[in-house]
């Protein structure tokens, strides 16, 4: 953990519509396979429904829908990242989880320099790792219900 303080971050790296994203490993509680999802009427449209996580009922969101990406069927590689958002466990469906990676803070370009759309408030920055661009997500912001409501109202 000492490296963590020396400007190194550990990220869970996953794929979504051919892009590579990273989120802080600290927010990820576990990674599980896709499971049957019970649809919840009247929930925000990127919410797929609820699943049974060892006796608890937690919501799952489809990150493709959240980011307005084309929706595809789940594959064998699809995973649910169970993340802690403001104390609530929430499942996040992604195309695939590739690895856990350490990157140095130096390689991160802050988002402010790259903001292209008003939607990118949940992008913390972009890291260049071995010719690959890694989009650093702030899931807290991406899935914060108030932000979503504001965004939805604006839409």
């Amino acid at each position: 953990m000492a490296e963590q303080g020396d400007g190194v971050r550990q990220l869970v790296v996953f794929e979504l519509a051919n892009e590579v994203y990273g989120i802080n490993i600290g927010t990820v509680r576990e990674i599980i396979r896709m499971q049957s999802v019970t649809y919840v009427p009247d929930a925000p449209d990127f919410v797929e429904g609820v699943i049974n996580l060892r006796g608890r009922v937690i919501p799952v969101v489809d990150l493709r829908k959240r980011f307005g990406l084309p929706v595809t069927e789940a594959t064998n590689d699809s995973r649910v990242l169970v993340v802690d958002i403001g104390g609530d466990d929430i499942g996040v469906i992604v195309d695939a989880v590739t690895e856990v990676q350490r990157i140095s803070e130096d390689s991160i370009e802050p988002a402010t320099a790259l903001v292209t759309t008003e939607d990118s408030y949940y992008i913390e920055g972009i890291a260049k790792v071995e010719d690959q661009l890694l989009i650093l997500l702030d899931l807290d912001r991406a899935l914060d219900s108030e932000t979503i409501q504001v965004a939805a109202a604006a839409a």
């Binding site: 019970t38 919840v40 009427p41 009247d42 609820v50 049974n52 009922v57 929430i90 409501q149």
Partner: protein
């Protein structure tokens, strides 16, 4: 009393709780003190209790109590210092002051009028006892350690041995933070630390007593060491929660000679063990006390909830195992193992059911816990509003799940407040109306058909329905014409409409637009109901009907559009498979006719907007569940059309994440035996939503039964005030997203 009057209800409660505990302790200890006049710890305890009581009563301005405890404290301090002997007279005086304190305390509890006795004579008696009992040097307070040493030959030889080896034997008195929850642990740490400084020869309490947690704030240690006293002190003092360390060279000559009255020195060895034995019986007694106390256990609420959750899981699995075992039996009738399995499964089912029941019972609390807060509330309200109210409470022993108790507190406070504020008239009005000056507010709890019923009944002026209706019309919640068709009961129900202030309902007193709609919403969120009955000039009764528990319920599983839902059985009146001609559309709204009545029909899929078009969503051959939000006349049955009836079973309620917002028509979720998540339908809100939709189209039959032959009368006007505007706002928001 002037000062006491300013004490907040909360402060008073805390103080009373504390005082009660301390007085009980004093009661016991003072009597013991008479027997065990040499028990230093006991004296300490008594002194501390009096001291604490003096502090808190003084702070809150209960001068009588402060005065009295101050006198007690003075006297006890002298006993402690050995300048005063413990005599029966002295204990008498102390007990008398204790009784005085009790009277003062009770006065605070019951009437809040307090200070009803004169403490002067008691204080005089205390002083007299102090004067009369003044004893010279013969301090009967003997350090416990010395007593032990006297009674323990083994220890004495150890001391001799240690001094013989040239070590210093120290007598340490280590004080541990009184409020510490870890006294035993701290004592242990002290002993460990001291053992590092030399050799612990003995201690009071002893090591084994410490292990059994028989500890107080004082630990006395005999230590053989080569270190200097300040060094030893410093080592002990650096430990956590050690508040003081006294150390002195052990003085073997201070070991008590045989008690003064025993003349012959030869008797000493005999007397000493006897004293040791005394100590032991005392410990045995306190151990017994601990044992007696342990027949009840305090449990962390969270732990209890966790247990309940696990039992809930078991109940789910039990259902699943029973199902599977039935299936297996159907398939392999002859197989002996399957037979045995079925037997075992039946037995498990029985045990799990019993476990479930016991678990529920454990969670039950008498409703009196909640009711006990109300006398004070009523009194304060009555005083501030200048009413004369007597609160009569019945059925305090009725038990309710603690989660329900928590959630009905606010609604109950609300209703009581309303009764005193708006229901009960000022005394002169009452007299003018020929009623007794003091009104009676009756608070009753009882069991009724598997439900808890709590009623709040006043003999006040009653609800003037005409005023209620006028207010509703003024607020645009109902039209003039619709109002004219309302029954008395329906008019009364209008008080639950949002925005209709209770002030408007009865009196000219206004300003606080307290909403009965909030009360109703709170109670309905518990799967309960609020009913109101009222007669002008006679009084008003509110009845809360509540489920025994929130954790589980019997549910009907239905499926629609390939998804399974649970409907709480309490709402289900019947299930039928209707003929095609029973289902029809009147003015564009689906309805179902049943035994001469027409009720509105909700197609579950459509209602939940499952994304399919209306035509697709309607099965050709549906089952219909007839539900009703309550038995109240105003809640008429509604039909819900589903594809299949799946099963009936115990449903364990799981909360839905707040992340999902307030999913319309959904009350929560549950997990079935096979791990599948099902949603629990929120029947009252579905009915309301359906009625709200109906009112969008004026010329339709709303969600109510109308006679077939009658023209389909629009009752929508009435209904429009039922589904709250507040409910719709978030929905609109959601739809926009």
């Amino acid at each position: 009393m002037a000062a006491a009057a300013e004490v907040s209800a909360d402060d008073l409660k805390v103080f009373l709780q504390e005082a009660e505990g301390l007085l009980e302790l004093l009661d016991e200890d003072l009597v013991r003190l008479e027997q065990e006049s040499d028990n230093e710890e006991l004296l300490q305890e008594i002194f501390r209790a009096a001291h604490t009581l003096k502090g808190s009563s003084g702070m809150l301005g209960f001068d009588g109590m402060a005065h009295l405890t101050h006198a007690m404290e003075d006297l006890l301090d002298r006993v402690r210092k050995g300048t005063l002997a413990i005599t029966p007279e002295l204990v008498d005086a102390l007990l008398m002051s204790l009784d005085g304190l009790k009277i003062l305390k009770n006065a605070l509890t019951e009437e809040g009028e307090g200070e009803s006795i004169d403490t002067g004579p008691i204080v005089d008696a205390l002083n007299a006892a102090a004067a009369g009992g003044a004893a010279p040097e013969a301090a009967s307070t003997q350090p416990a350690l010395q007593t032990v040493v006297a009674g323990d030959e083994d220890l004495r030889s150890k001391i001799d041995e240690a001094s013989g080896e040239g070590h210093t034997v120290l007598h340490l008195k280590v004080r541990i933070e009184e409020s510490s929850d870890w006294k035993a642990v701290r004592c242990f740490q002290v002993l460990n630390e001291l053992d590092d400084c030399g050799r612990v020869l003995g201690s009071v309490p002893s090591q084994s007593e410490i292990e059994q947690e028989q500890v107080t704030g004082l630990l006395e240690v005999l230590l053989a060491t080569d270190l200097e006293i300040p060094d030893v002190q410093a080592r002990a003092e650096q430990l956590e929660e050690v508040t003081g360390v006294e150390a002195a060279a052990f003085d073997p000559t201070a070991v008590p000679e045989p008690p003064a009255e025993t003349e012959a020195p030869a008797d000493a060895p005999a007397a000493a063990p006897a004293e040791g034995a005394d100590q032991r019986t005392q410990i045995a007694a306190s151990a017994q006390k601990v044992e007696a106390l342990q027949t009840t256990v305090r449990i962390d609420v969270e732990q209890l909830d966790a247990l309940m959750n696990m039992v809930g899981e078991l109940v789910i699995d039990r259902t699943r195992v029973s199902q599977l075992s039935r299936l297996l039996q159907g398939r392999f009738k002859e197989d002996e193992y399957v037979g045995a399995l079925a037997e075992t499964s039946t037995h498990i089912a029985k045990v799990v059911d019993e476990l479930h029941e016991s678990m529920m019972a454990v969670r039950m609390l008498p409703v009196g816990l909640l009711f006990s807060k109300f006398p004070r509330l009523v009194r304060d309200l009555a005083r501030s509003l200048d009413r004369q109210v007597t609160l009569a409470v019945e059925g305090e022993d009725t038990e309710i799940d603690r989660s329900v108790i928590e959630k009905i507190k606010d609604p109950l406070v609300h209703l009581i407040r309303n009764s005193v504020d708006h229901g009960i008239e000022p005394a002169e009005d009452r007299v003018a109306a020929g009623k007794p000056e003091a009104s009676i507010l009756k608070l009753t709890a009882s069991h009724e058909q598997g439900q808890i019923v709590i009623s709040i009944e006043d003999d006040g002026r009653g609800i003037d329905t005409e005023k209620v209706v006028a207010s509703a019309i003024k607020k645009g919640q109902i039209s003039q014409e619709a109002a004219e068709r309302l029954s008395h009961r329906e008019k009364l129900e209008l008080i639950f409409a949002p925005g209709l202030s209770t002030a408007a309902k009865t009196t000219e007193v206004s300003g606080r637009g307290v909403g009965m709609d909030i009360v109703r919403r709170d109670i309905e969120s518990l799967n309960g109901r609020v009913e109101v009955e009222s007669e002008v000039g006679v009084g008003t009764t509110f009845k809360l009907r509540l489920p025994l528990t929130l954790a589980t319920f019997r549910g009907l599983l239905v499926s629609s559009g390939g998804t399974t839902y649970a409907i709480p059985l309490t709402y289900v009146q019947e299930t039928i498979r209707p003929e095609q001609e029973q289902l029809r559309t009147v003015s564009g709204r689906p309805v179902m006719s049943l035994r001469g009545s027409v009720m509105s029909l909700i197609w579950l899929n459509e209602s939940l907007q499952l994304g399919t078009s209306a035509e697709q969503a309607r099965s050709d051959d549906p089952y219909v569940v007839v539900v009703r939000a309550s038995e109240s006349e105003t809640d008429r049955p509604v039909a819900i059309a589903v594809d299949e009836l799946v099963d009936q079973q115990e449903i364990v309620v799981k909360s839905l994440s707040g992340f999902l917002g307030r999913a319309r028509g959904i009350a929560g979720a549950s997990i079935l035996g096979d791990g599948q998540v099902v949603l629990i339908l929120d029947v009252p809100s579905m009915i309301k939503a359906s009625q709200a939709r109906d009112t969008d189209q004026p010329a339709t039959a709303a969600g109510n039964v109308v006679e077939l032959d009658a023209s389909v009368a629009p009752r929508g006007d009435l209904d429009s005030n039922e589904p709250s505007a507040a409910d719709e706002a978030p929905e609109a928001e959601r739809m926009a997203s």
